[in-house]
Symmetry: C5
Subunit: 354 residues, 5 copies
């Protein structure tokens, strides 16, 4: 289940800048993979170590360092030192509770956001924190665990597809961000399918578990909104192009990502409105049905309970009950019952209950 607040308790009390990993340990080992390229050449190193990264810092080629797994704080500290990251940035990278944000440290831009994926097993959305440090010639990406989302970007670099090899580090940052937002759309599609199937279920055959699923989905929407909404601001800041690290021709691409994020937020809000609508529809239908059942019950009970009472009276075993002896008593009582029943029916018809 998506969670908003992860245990931070062990951190409390430490001075700011202390490196503590806050979140679940999702990867076995911290894995560093390096891609170093320009228009002509490409050097790749699958599982490198921090020392491999240091000389690339000031090389004119574009360097992409991808770090999977955040719990080996010592490794990260070294990397941070080599690339001169502010202690608060390192702290934020390790704290997987971050709200999406971007900060401009002149030498580099720090961007943090959430990657979403839909787990087919649990039918739930999963979130993972991704941090990007974008410098003049390098991008460092931090993920909580190994994933295959960035593989298509890797392929494009390897195969020289698109213009990625011709552009700088900020275009690479765009490509990674774009990938993550594409991922959002896949999650949205799954959610829309799920909403529709639940909707149908609710109309045809509502069970308590349908209701619970809908409420779980609605809660998921609340959390997704919280995850995606601040990203809008992040990309807005990037597209304004105030940082010299973002080239003018890349801005148009960030604008495109911005439009996509707006669409994602719109969709999440709409889904939420829809789910509310579904529940309202369910409640008013239920209310309508109860009303129907109530009317039937009231009509039947109101007609037959008094009649049964009359029958009950003449079922009493008193010795002296003059009516019982009368020749026409039975028929008179039957007639009275019929009349009462008829009056009741007339009353209900007039009240428009029948």
């Amino acid at each position: 289940m998506l969670k908003l607040v992860r245990k931070k308790t062990r951190k409390v009390g430490a001075p700011p800048g202390t490196l503590v990993h806050i979140g679940e340990k999702k990867a076995e080992r911290t894995k560093i993979s390096i891609m170093d390229y320009d228009h002509a050449d490409l050097h790749e190193k699958e599982s490198g170590n921090v020392e491999d990264c240091i000389p690339l810092r000031d090389a004119p080629t574009v360097t992409w360092i991808n770090v999977d797994g955040l719990h080996e704080t010592e490794t990260l500290r070294k990397l941070g030192e080599a690339y001169r990251l502010h202690p608060l940035v390192l702290e934020d990278i390790l704290d997987t509770n971050q709200r999406p944000k971007t900060e401009d440290f002149e030498e580099y831009i720090y961007i943090v956001f959430k990657m979403l994926s839909f787990s087919e097993e649990t039918n739930e959305v999963e979130a993972e924190q991704v941090s990007l440090v974008v410098g003049r010639n390098f991008v460092i990406s931090f993920q909580e665990r190994e994933g295959d989302v960035f593989d298509t970007v890797r392929d494009r670099i390897r195969n020289m597809k698109g213009k990625i090899r011709k552009m700088g580090a900020n275009y690479l940052a765009y490509a990674l961000l774009d990938k993550v937002v594409d991922q959002y759309f896949i999650v949205l599609e799954k959610l829309e399918d799920r909403i529709e199937s639940l909707e149908e279920e609710l109309i045809s055959d509502p069970t308590p578990s349908t209701l619970r699923s809908i409420h779980m989905l609605k809660r998921e929407m609340i959390l997704l909104h919280k995850f995606v909404w601040p990203l809008r601001e992040v990309v807005d800041t990037l597209q304004e192009g105030e940082s010299p690290l973002i080239d003018k021709q890349t801005i148009r691409y960030f604008k495109d990502v911005y439009d996509h994020i707006i669409q994602v937020i719109d969709s999440i809000d709409t889904f939420r409105d829809m789910l509310t609508g579904v529940l309202d529809a369910y409640l008013s239908t239920t209310s309508n049905r109860m009303n129907e059942a109530m009317k039937v019950l009231t009509i039947i009970a109101t007609i037959f309970i008094p009649l049964s009472f009359i029958a009950g009276i003449y079922g009493m075993n008193f010795r002296y009950m003059p009516e019982l002896e009368s020749r026409w008593g039975y028929f008179v009582v039957l007639f009275i019952m019929l009349a009462i029943g008829g009056l009741m029916v007339y009353y209900f018809k007039r009240k428009k209950w029948m």
Copy 2:
């Protein structure tokens, strides 16, 4: 049914600028029709091809190229090349998931929005994406399928009605946009009719299907709002007149369209409020009726169940029941029953239930 997210999956993984048509294939063939005119002359070509369009790009006459059907990506690529469109613009034209927006590329303005129509068959609103590329001397319009909405504009050009022949490409863009917004009003009228008829139905004879229709309409309003709301911003940008492609005397016309869009949004929101109001009214009426039924049931049951119990007691067949032998037993019991019933009635009257 209106849908918010259309399958984008096949696109994911491709580099930005890859041309993939996202959406249903609504037209058999991509059809290009060309109108080229100035104050004096008019040249028309019903089903042209891309090659016909190229020489017109730099002609001083106003050229209107209308493209119906978006799935022949190769044709569109060629057209885009000829008119020097940015790859992201072509990508957006093909992706029918676009949120209405406008982008200024200096040489041309790109505008994308939704055309709405009301299908009498399904009683539902249908949406189609329309893209406009507005240059100095040309307008290219892209529709998902062939339609007759722009026919009146064509007639005005042919018959020299209004000032359309005397004005530039930006006035043509206004005329097309104005047409689409007029279309919105027709849809609104249909919806208002439908709301009113559902309202009456709900008051006179509510069936579960009435309720479902109302909820479907409410959901439609949510989606319509999402479709129209961003258009406000689009036209606001246009009317501010910052682009040199929009003539000063056309701005007043865009202002007019802007007012209309505000009215459309207002109406959609009001319809939504009304539908909520209708459902609230329905729920409170139902609740009132259930209360009535409940009261009747409670009164009847509370009066007669105890009396029936008394009758039940004297209907038992015990050999030794002294009351049964008594001369006045029957009448005493009848009197007691009457008294209990009377007391009950008095109690209910005091409680204001009767």
Copy 3:
């Protein structure tokens, strides 16, 4: 009933600037009345024609042309030509669907808003569109039908009451607008009375028709809000005094009108909140009452149904039922019934249901 969208269909397809009257025809004939005055003189013409108006356009005196009835488009076209009105202005005057707005055309200001009145017959609010064209020396007012709202302004002009004769055309425009806003307060008073009487009705003796009236009122509030809300912006624009047509000393008066409009909007919103509150109160009271009834029903049924069942058992006519023959059977059974009843009462007392 107030309506938001009026049939515009017949208009669709015509080029912009085509004069078509959209709305009901509320007046028999278009009637033009003219008042031409300055500090010293006053010329009045009750039912003039367009030709009477033309020479007054450039006279130094203040000219007030009031037009009742909008369906004679030819008359209006002539008037518009004489006073050099933009075709879109004439179109807007005729389209009674306008959202209140103001537009500055340098030579004149165009203002359009709604006049409200409360019909005692139908107990409903009625809305009528009023357009003002305010020039340097003239005001043209357009109403959908003849009315007496502006009569007090006419009297003030005739009797030289207040400063109206000493001020320019913009003060006359203020006086007319002020009159219309005063009219709003009268409507608000009626509505407050109605809300209060409905409230009392709902508490003392709620009928389905009370509920319906409340919901109708709530819907009326939604529409009134839509009618009045944009007027705030209109008068705000006027009071900012950017147009040279508004004298500095008149601005203070427009500020006063602005305050009144804010008050009207505030009141409408408050009324809406109140009506929501009334309905909530009603629903929770109903729910409370049903709960009460339910409890009574449950208690009675739960106590007597099992007892009746016991009585039913000993009312069976089996030949061999040993208890029936017993000397004390009847009394034992009576005691058991008493015990069961007592236990039930105890149980309900403990559950706090009694």
Copy 4:
């Protein structure tokens, strides 16, 4: 009960600037009391008349003229003339419908707001309009009736407590405003007490009157919000210090009042949220209880109604009913009843209803 709109009808039709008192007549006579002081001297006049005020206008000492009662329009007109007040200001002072606002007339500032008090008799909040006219050396305060709220300010002036005697007229205005806002806190405390006692009542022993009181309180919150909310803007304008009539050192004090008003608004909104919460809690508790009652009723009825039916069958008096003659008929039937009852109980246990 607080009212939003007071009858204005008699005013409608009069030209702007006409002095008509709108509101209830709350005081017998209009009473004018004058305090004239500087650091050294103090002159007081308890029930003065307009003539006493005139010479003080241009004296260097600080003059505080307090007017209780607004219905003697002639007196007010004279005072207004003496102090050169704009006709619209006098009109606003008399119209007790004002929304709190401030207007800068260069020579003086006009401030109007609501004074609140809690009536122990009716358990309701009462509102009264207070107007302040703040000049260089004078403050004129207008109240609807005589009150003792300003007495502590009078005492501070008399006893030279605090810095009031050392400061100018604008500090006096602050002191009066501060007094009124302090008054708000007293009302808030009363309301919080009332909310808490109603809350407890609703949990322990909800009566229809508890519900009605809560709804009345909620409505009161709506009105209080409307009364206090605009005051925030009023004091914000004053603390910005743009008027030369507000000394720089007094601004800090107006900031303090501003903070208090924010707190009052916050509290009112919180109270409203709380009351909504209380009602929601009540509704869900009621719903829970009805559910409980419903379950008990359903279980009892579902078990015993079929059993009673069986007993009813064997209570019929047909001559030929073979079972009745059988030796074990009675016991077999008893056993069948037991079995049916047991099955029902099992069914309900499985459905988790028991």
Copy 5:
């Protein structure tokens, strides 16, 4: 329980600047502890008095004066005088009703906010007011009672951990604020745990007390929001770095705190949405269950009540009832009963109630 308004009554009437402690007396004695340090030296005094503080005011070392307990107004007055605090600041420090705010007095900045803690005993959040006065070389902190939250800061000063000893007074202020915000996260974790456990309880076994707890939590969220929301503005003002008292390098740290506060506010709002969601889920589940119960009851009652009535008829003891004498009467009646029952079942099946 968190309270919004604390009794201020005893204050009303006093001139501004009068020192009155508003709030509960939470500490036995006012305790002053002093830390005076620079990079090299540290002087500590655990329970000092005001006189100890005075000479430190203008020393170049950083001085931190912590005051626990606010009821000894005389001590505070002296301290305020020594450090030249504005009377309104002292008043605000003593009034524990403050809304979080910051005010820049040039020589020092005044910051007031709420410290939150979660009491394990009462399962409730507790709030305490903390005031900071931040000068060039000193920080004075005021707490309502002794607490251990600032102890880790003390340790960092003593042990020279982090950079606290190398930075100025404004970094100390940041460290204290950061501590308080860390505290918020601990409270949030507790609340999230509690929400989750209540959620489970509500699904598995809802009792009225579960409902009440959820409503209490929701109300707590309302109050927490009010406490934390204004703090966002406070820290925003500080991070803008307009005061010369905030060093440029500290601003980055205040930015960090700002991000944390945004996260806290986000979480509180999300919790509130979640609680609303939980209650909605509960209500719709309850409604679903009642519907189920209602259906069972209606089916059983509707089938058996008419059948019982028939049995009742033939249980009457009339002497002349021809059917009773008939040979097949009993079996015919049984068959009729079966037929009626079957028809009812068929009817309910068709209505989809079974």
